[in-house]
């Protein structure tokens, strides 16, 4: 087993920078998820760790050894690809054993490893089939099995569940989590789905436009985001953002006014540098953090466009006269979503303020 370390890693394709100075430490046995929108460089970062892309500058180490110039096969990694990358002309058994056979691994050992992987993934009865005769979930299992037989120090997953339907995705998510517990090896997992990231990760790395935006445990990112981007990316439905203006400072905080929410005012306690009066800021409130009218630090009244009742909870898609859209989560037992107008409260303790550049003000 081994940890992975990235030091000032840069990747450019010609003049186009894709990864800008990424540094990161993945502990031995940790499950780390790279998450970010399409094109943020998360797959490129993973492929650099795998050795499938060259590093423009910086250093990548696996198990304490710098691997920048080491062939993929000698890095002690195994990779599961988004498209599964199963060899279509080979049976499941041949797919699992191909790499070991081609590298001269002893036959008995190859057979034992293939058998063990098949048992772990419960695909023993599929060994004679070809990939086209398998369902999506079964293909994914075979792809993971092909990684297991290599007995790697680090597993790399490149959006492995994105081709599966929603139900199967949940099932495979649980299986991958179980596999991590069972094998106890380091796993690095790339996804653009924040739910996958939240449910699987010991640690999440949020990427944006080639930069690491924030690294932290899932609940830390959810509860204590460093930026508006992370706050918006982590959590589902996403955090609401409301335009605000600083109308007063002092007393260990700032007073902000929400021009699109009936000029509601809210005092936000801040410890760091205070923005000047008149500065435009953004107030962030998660859908589940709106309270009942009168129970918070300020009330706002919105018009409900659509209400979604999911049974255990309900979501109101609402907006104000000024056109600012909000998603508000309500307890169905409160029966608040029967009329068009809804008044909810905001608590300063459960709200976030960001400056105009998206940086969190604490």
């Amino acid at each position: 087993m081994a940890g992975v370390s990235l030091k000032n890693v840069v990747k450019s394709f010609g003049a186009v920078g894709v990864i800008h100075n990424a540094s990161l430490a993945v502990e031995d046995g940790e499950f780390v998820v790279f998450v970010g929108p399409s094109g943020c460089g998360k797959s490129t970062l993973l492929r650099m760790i795998a050795g499938l892309e060259d590093v423009t500058s910086g250093e990548i180490s696996i198990g304490g050894t710098v691997v920048n110039d080491v062939e993929p096969a000698e890095r002690g990694i195994a990779m599961v690809f988004q498209s599964y990358a199963l060899y279509p002309h080979m049976t499941v058994e041949q797919n699992l054993s191909f790499g070991l056979r081609m590298t001269g691994n002893p036959k008995a050992d190859t057979e034992a490893r293939v058998r063990r992987a098949a048992e772990i993934l419960r695909i023993t009865e599929l060994m004679g089939r070809r990939p086209r005769q398998l369902s999506g979930g079964q293909r994914q299992r075979v792809a993971i099995g092909r990684a297991i037989v290599r007995e790697p120090q680090v597993f790399l997953f490149d959006e492995p569940l994105s081709n599966l339907d929603a139900e199967l995705r949940v099932q495979m998510r649980v299986e991958i989590s179980r596999l991590h517990k069972e094998l106890g090896v380091t796993m690095i997992y790339v996804t653009h789905d924040q739910t996958e990231a939240m449910t699987l990760a010991d640690k999440i790395v949020v990427l944006r436009a080639g930069n690491i935006e924030q690294i932290g445990r899932p609940l830390d990112l959810y509860g204590d985001p460093d930026s508006q981007f992370v706050a918006g990316f982590v959590g589902s439905p996403k955090m609401n953002f409301m335009a605000a203006e600083v109308i007063g400072t002092g007393g260990g905080g700032i007073t902000i006014e929400l021009p699109n929410q009936g000029r509601a005012r809210l005092v936000m306690p801040l410890q760091g540098e205070m923005p000047a009066k008149g500065t435009s800021v953004v107030l962030g409130v998660r859908p589940e953090h709106f309270g009942r009218a009168g129970q918070g630090d300020c009330d706002i009244t919105v018009t409900v466009d659509v209400a979604e009742h999911l049974g255990s909870t309900s979501f109101a898609y609402a907006n104000t006269i000024e056109g600012e859209e909000l998603v508000i989560e309500r307890d169905p037992a409160l029966h608040e979503l029967g009329s068009d107008a809804l008044t909810v409260s905001i608590s300063a303790a459960r709200a976030y303020v960001f400056d105009a550049g998206g940086k969190r003000l604490r």
Binding site: R47, A50, G51, L52, E71, P72, A73, E74, I77, A78, M79, F81, Q82, S83, A85, Y87, P88, H89, F98, G99, L100, M102, T103, R146, R150
Partner: protein, 278 residues
């Protein structure tokens, strides 16, 4: 529903009315070749037009064998076509693989040159090729001269390159991560996946070699070492032309190819389509 199926029937009838005369037009020379191969020379030139076969086929074959050692020529043609197909598929696959998978300096120029050679008429190539092979390498009247010069087939390279380019690169990345060497990836992953293209290309290359007349005529005119089309050509003499023998030989040359085409037309058309639209 009814009007829809009626319209489909009408379309089908119209299509058949259009295509049937074209098919007859195409098949008529073939039929006449078969008919003439069963007639004596004087029968072929008789003023009466005969559309049905006669009984002289085996006599014509016997004459052909006596005059040209045609069975031996057929064997040479088959051997040359097989060797050419095998070697050319191997060579064009490797070139196609390199052009599809690797980034190297001058790749664009190499591709442009290969594409450019397709536009050159064979007549432009054949004379310098003959001078090089016959005079410089002194390889006239050898098997090497028959097989090697046309080996590097531009169309084949582009076919194979296209086929490899269409394959998901993740397959090869997966093999690389597993420690499989490049040549093994080519041999055990890429080539088996390119089987349909290889099948189509093999048919095209085999046919090209089988039908090749000009190059074997120029480079290999030694009696007893000629390919079948060249051997057949020797029957056209200055004083006597054995048309019955020529037609019997033409039937012998054409029939196996027609059978191959009928059996493998799916691959053949797939190959043409792959080159055309992908």
């Amino acid at each position: 529903m009814k009007s829809k199926s009626a319209a489909r029937l009408m379309r089908s009838i119209a299509l058949h009315l259009f295509l049937t005369p074209l098919a007859i037009l195409w098949l008529f020379p073939l039929w006449m070749m078969a008919v003439f191969s069963t007639m004596p020379d004087n029968g072929i030139f008789s003023p009466d037009i005969v559309l049905l076969p006669s009984t002289q086929f085996f006599d014509n074959i016997a004459n052909l064998q006596r005059d040209t050692d045609f069975i031996r020529a057929m064997m040479i043609s088959i051997s040359v076509a097989l060797a050419y197909t095998l070697l050319s598929v191997a060579l064009t696959s490797m070139a196609g693989w390199a052009l599809a998978r690797y980034q190297f300096f001058g790749k664009g120029a190499v591709l442009a040159i290969i594409l450019g050679t397709i536009t050159l008429p064979y007549a432009v190539v054949v004379i310098p090729q003959f001078i090089m092979v016959a005079r410089d390498f002194k390889l006239a009247n050898t098997w090497i001269a028959l097989i090697v010069p046309p080996l590097f087939n531009s169309l084949g390279v582009l076919f194979m390159r296209q086929s490899f380019s269409m394959m998901p690169h993740e397959l090869f990345d997966a093999a690389r991560v597993e420690g499989v060497k490049e040549w093994r990836i080519f041999l055990f992953v890429a080539l088996p996946l390119a089987r349909p293209t290889i099948a189509a290309l093999s048919i095209i290359l085999f046919l090209a070699s089988w039908n090749n007349y000009l190059w074997p005529l120029l480079i290999n005119s030694k009696p007893g070492a000629m390919t079948a089309p060249v051997a057949l050509g020797t029957l056209i003499g200055l004083t006597k032309v054995s048309w019955g023998g020529i037609m019997a030989g033409a039937v012998m040359l054409t029939a196996p190819m027609l059978v191959v085409f009928v059996l493998l037309q799916r691959h053949f058309i797939a190959g043409i389509a792959a080159g055309a639209i992908k």
